[in-house]
């Protein structure tokens, strides 16, 4: 597993409908191999696997859907 391709974020993608709203963008993005959001976590951690995208790309996309998104720092 190349851990450098894993991008992590805190978000407020809390509910099924929140997830549906970002799904429309993230599912079809050609540079996203896989993404998941831990809705059982208080920070709703968004995990994106992409060899090309940067944290800022994803933050812009998610914020564009109307949700909070910030990099989860180590």
């Amino acid at each position: 597993m190349n851990t450098e391709n894993i991008l992590l974020f805190k978000s407020n993608i809390k509910t099924a409908s929140d997830k549906f709203a970002v799904e429309r963008i993230l599912d079809i993005h050609p540079h996203i191999e896989q993404w998941t959001v831990d809705q059982q976590d208080e920070d709703c951690i968004l995990r994106v696997i992409s060899p090309r995208l940067t944290h800022n790309h994803v933050i812009d996309m998610v914020r564009g859907c109307g949700y909070h998104c910030e990099e989860l720092k180590d």
């Binding site: 998941t36 831990d38 976590d41 720092k73």
Partner: protein, 198 residues
């Protein structure tokens, strides 16, 4: 790239099982686990997708280890009594040496994670124990019977003794420590009960 530190991986596994045992699945969180392990939340999310993934992976890994301990040196060609004795030895050893993991599996049995993990445990057991049981039935060392009936006689007594031992008390709160004598006396009665009458 981050280096996967085996010591940390084992610490995460142990702490995760401890937390599930003490707080239940509802009370478990990746955040709390990271704090308990002294590592960042991000490190955990690098290796696990989410809480469910983490619990499932840890349970599968431990189930695999339990299977290896229980079945590793088990020879299906043993006679019925010898084979069952070996199973009692292996199972009691695993449970006595791994009290946290055993309690974790107890919690798992009544949770939504049960199907995924039990499938993995049962698969290995079925193959090896199936051969052992078929041979024992063929040799008339034991009668054919529903699995639940067999398990309730062959293994349930061992798990009852181990439960008393872990709780430190038996019926009516009487102090209890499992020893070899009690275990093998019970075992002899189990074999007697399962031996077909001539």
């Amino acid at each position: 790239m981050r280096v996967r530190n085996e010591e940390k991986v084992q610490l995460v596994k142990q702490k995760a099982m401890e937390m599930v045992v003490s707080d239940g699945f509802e009370g478990f969180s990746v955040n709390k686990l990271a704090r308990a392990c002294g590592i960042s939340v991000a490190t955990l999310y690098i290796y696990y997708k989410d809480k469910d993934d983490l619990i499932t992976e840890i349970a599968l890994e431990e189930a695999k280890r339990m299977g290896e301990i229980t079945l590793g040196d088990f020879d299906p060609e043993l006679s019925f009594a010898e084979g069952l004795r070996k199973q009692w030895e292996n199972r009691s050893r695993y449970i006595l040496e791994n009290p946290v993991a055993s309690a974790f599996f107890e919690q798992l049995r009544t949770s939504t994670y049960q199907d995924k993990v039990m499938e993995c445990i049962i698969c290995d057991f079925k193959a090896k124990m199936g051969t052992f049981m078929q041979k024992a039935i063929k040799n008339k060392e034991v009668d054919a019977m529903p699995l639940e009936v067999y398990w309730s006689v062959a293994y349930a007594p061992l798990y009852s003794l181990l439960r008393f031992h872990h709780e430190g008390r038996s019926l009516g709160g009487k102090p209890f420590v499992l020893n070899e004598d009690i275990m093998w006396r019970t075992f002899d009665l189990v074999v007697k009960a399962l031996t077909p009458s001539k």
